[in-house]
Symmetry: C2
């Protein structure tokens, strides 16, 4: 936890036994179980794009039932999934940038588009309260109709968010000359939370 010395921490070992059940394996990076992915995907399909801290926390807690997971994993998952879905769609429809109706755009970005390109031929704001519902659902998280069955996990819940990896690079062999290494995803990052 100190500053230096922990070279390439990620290469270490830890009890990251998901799905397979092979305990004490490498713990390089989060490896979601199929259940976790399904849940996340469902939430995404339901309209969730950028979960709040609270939501991330809840989702994380819920998913920890199926295997090791941290809040940041959830955060990253949505970040990546959102971006890659957008990207995927872009490759398909080569429509003009101004005419696309990408609903993934966050408010600031959409607003900006409006301002700069005068675009939206169709009101992009006509809302659908889907996300709202999702939130509600999330709040009801704890109670589930189905008695879930955890594949075979021994250790679980490690929902702290203690910027691990990040430093390893910074203080690894190179010691980054003084310049830097970097930063944690937005707020979740700071360990002392």
């Amino acid at each position: 936890m100190s500053s230096r010395g922990f070279t390439i921490k990620a290469r270490g070992l830890c009890n990251n036994n998901n799905g397979g059940g092979t305990a004490g394996t490498k713990c390089g990076r989060w490896n979601p179980t199929v259940e976790q992915v399904k849940l996340l995907t469902d939430l995404f399909k339901a309209g969730l794009r950028t979960p709040s801290t609270d939501q991330i926390q809840k989702i994380s807690t819920e998913l920890s039932f199926y295997g090791k997971i941290e809040s940041k994993n959830v955060f990253y998952w949505f970040q990546n999934h959102k971006a890659r879905e957008r990207q995927k769609r872009r490759r398909i429809s080569t429509v003009d940038f101004d005419h696309r109706q990408d609903t993934d755009l966050s408010r600031p970005y959409r607003d900006n588009l409006r301002r700069r390109h005068q675009s939206p031929p169709k009101d992009i704001f006509e809302v659908c309260n889907v996300e709202e519902k999702v939130i509600e659902t999330l709040q009801l998280f704890p109670l589930s109709k189905v008695e879930r069955v955890r594949p075979n996990v021994t250790a679980a819940s490690h929902n702290e968010y203690t910027r691990e990896q990040a430093y390893t690079t910074a203080f690894s062999t190179f010691s980054t000359c003084g310049a830097e290494m970097e930063h944690p995803p937005l707020d979740l990052q700071l360990s002392f939370l």
Copy 2:
């Protein structure tokens, strides 16, 4: 703190009285005092670019002496300052990308440059132990040669880091409508939650 309702939370009010001493003013965003900026700038000049969590914590604590400040403020400050200094430098010297000796580049990026452009005419890794020194300095933070004088702050230390703003956008009026919403009603969709 909940999910909805708090549209644009940041516009609220709170006791953010820094420097000026006007208590109970808007708490839109952090407004660093001159002392804080000076300290941060000094650290930057000393070579610090991307402080670690520990460093951020220490810096934040130290700066809270001069006024309200959160860890994230320190984080963002370095993020922005680094980027803007780089930007500034770019406008001045229009040197080829491959030839610039920007020490701000993170390891991965530098490595990548090496790989892709065969560039570095000069070993980019020849280290400068600046940050090392900075770290030392930071560790010795508590003791200062000069007896610091706090301008006039009443409330201080709010070093929690709870991603605020970020979510407000997600749940504001728009709610991201869903083109990706063909899917069935959430109920059953998320039933297994």
